[in-house]
């Protein structure tokens, strides 16, 4: 009798062990599947960028050679030389930085003011105006651009200044809170300012601080990190924005993305001589990719310096919570 019981115990023990192992195996398989999926997705994400990098280091013979698929036979930097000359890189880079920087400063200031008004005060039509911020994000840009163009041209005619082809129109839009993705920037500020405890403002008020002082000495001083995030977002988005810029600035200010868009034309305007080739170098994919890589490098640097802030910035918009 006892023997049978022991035997049964053993079996149930064994069963439990198997079950436990099964569960363990199951957990490991799900982990493996998740990693496999994530790595595949990352590969698809990065595939164009990787092929861009590999192409940009290929010498003209490697580009044509069907045996060279990913890794160039020899690291070749000539493409970059050509791309730098065609893009007129250093001037263009400088232009792009001050252009996006100016717009970003304007946008950051106005978004902070607007976000502060919504976070700090209760006023009439608050909910309506808040909804309008979100609406302004849905409105497609082309439909509001035509009257903007007409306004700018009218002002141009009236004053005799030339505005089309300069940063001024976009700067004015930015100063009035209507730049690229302004709604998101306002939301980032709004959600951060809302977290500042009200006690601080009350204490300041008792000490006799006026609205301006409350804004400057409490809010702005506390939210330096948020300001940096908003500035970086605005900078990057203004840098990448080509639709409005191409229409309003045309090619008067040489900016990175527009110059890249015109790469084919520019290639024949700004002659490139590559050592070991005739003076009339042929336009190859490798040059294009090298130029693309060059225009992306500043953004890569910004991104890797502040990647955490970027992701948190989007989380801070809080649009999922409301």
């Amino acid at each position: 009798m006892k023997a049978i019981k022991r035997f049964l115990d053993k079996i149930s023990n064994l069963y439990a062990k198997i079950k436990h192992n099964q569960r363990k195996i199951g957990r490991i398989t799900t982990q493996v599947i998740i990693y496999a999926l994530l790595i595949t997705i990352s590969y698809v994400f990065l595939f164009p960028l990787l092929s861009m990098i590999s192409l940009s280091f290929m010498s003209p013979t490697d580009v044509i050679n069907p045996e060279v698929d990913w890794i160039p036979a020899k690291l070749y930097f000539g493409n970059f030389g050509a791309a730098i000359r065609v893009l007129d890189l250093f001037k263009t880079l400088f232009n792009s930085i001050w252009f996006s920087g100016t717009l970003a400063i304007a946008q950051t200031i106005v978004s902070a003011l607007t976000g502060y008004a919504f976070a700090r005060y209760n006023f009439r039509f608050k909910r309506l105006l808040f909804a309008l911020i979100l609406v302004s994000f849905i409105v497609p840009v082309p439909i509001i651009l035509i009257p903007r163009i007409m306004m700018i041209v009218s002002v141009q005619d009236a004053t005799g200044m030339s505005l089309i082809g300069t940063v001024v129109p976009q700067l004015v839009m930015g100063l009035f809170g209507q730049g690229v993705n302004s709604a998101i920037l306002i939301l980032i500020f709004y959600n951060f300012f809302k977290m500042i405890p009200n006690v601080l403002f009350e204490a300041a008020k008792i000490d006799g601080a006026n609205a301006y002082q409350q804004f400057w000495h409490i809010t702005i001083r506390m939210s330096l990190s948020t300001i940096v995030v908003v500035f970086l977002f605005s900078f990057v988005w203004n840098w990448n924005e080509t639709y409005v810029t191409e229409i309003l600035v045309r090619n008067n200010v040489h900016l990175m993305p527009t110059q890249l868009g015109l790469f084919e034309t520019l290639f024949f305007q700004r002659p490139v001589d590559i050592p070991g080739q005739d003076n009339t170098a042929l336009l190859s994919e490798a040059y294009k990719m090298a130029a693309t890589l060059l225009t992306m490098i500043p953004l890569f640097i910004i991104y890797f310096a502040a990647q955490k802030q970027f992701v948190e910035g989007i989380e801070k918009t809080g649009i999922t919570g409301e």
Binding site: S42, Y121, I149, V153, F176, G177, T295, I314, I319
Partner: protein, 326 residues
Amino acid sequence: MAKKMRDKDILKAIQRKSHQNKQAYLFLLPWLIGFIIFTIGPFFYTVYLSFYEVESTGLGWVTTFVGMDNYFMALFRNLYYLPALIDFIVLEITYVPAVVIASFIIGILLNRDIKFRSGFRTIFFLPVIVLSGSVMDKLIETGGTRLSDFSENIIFQMLMNYNRSAARGLLNLFENFTMVLWFTGIPVILFINGLQKINTQLYEAAKIDGATTWQILWKITVPIIKPTALIVAIFTIVQIGMYSINPIYEIIKAAMYNFGAGLGLASAYTWIYTLVVLFFVGIALLLLGTKEKAETVKLSSIQRLNFEQIKAKRDSVSKEVNNESN
């Protein structure tokens, strides 16, 4: 006396309120002016312009009423606009669900406790920062975004016989799946954020009740995440229009580029385009909008029920105790 005091208080409160109003509007002023002059005004003015012919003269802008001419021109006389519009609609129909679903899946994967999570997140957010229109164009031109060729696939061939434009849309979707993923940058963050806000007790309760992972996904995660999905869908619908994979983009830009003449026609172009976009936003609202209020009421009524039961139990216990002590 008391009444007088109250009146005074109310008056003070009103004054404070109006003072607050003034201050708030002072902070709001730049944005408000900009919104009226540069966004909402132009929006309606473009609708108005689409019925006019706009000419730039030395004396300023001259508009003449032409009725529906611009629309006829856009839809019937321009050989490129209508096909581009149809392509755009196909693009939205194929890309938006793909982006929403893909970003939801990535969000779920990244919401788990895994190693290198931040590394993956960094990769998936990268396109938001480094992608400008011209960079995208260059990468498409050199074929970098093209993963493989599906056009010889037998299923695709069958579809092609059935419906040409739908088949082409699907082919475009599968061949350029990288593009779909590149639009998931911000949506993935939004989904992760939404998923983290879900109360984990709900999952635990479901698990105790014997729900499988699949059931938990469909019965708990999906309904709760729906509002996020709505925001993601709207965001994607708008965002896709801003890149040159949108076939209308070039037509509108070309019409706008020479603003000596033809801005009326350009207005008609953009207004039709905007209507399509808003139509899709409406569809997204219909499909993903939730009756949030009904749900919260249900939840609170359950809670109340629980409280009542607990209270009844506590009362009965205390009664018993009292009886015993007596």
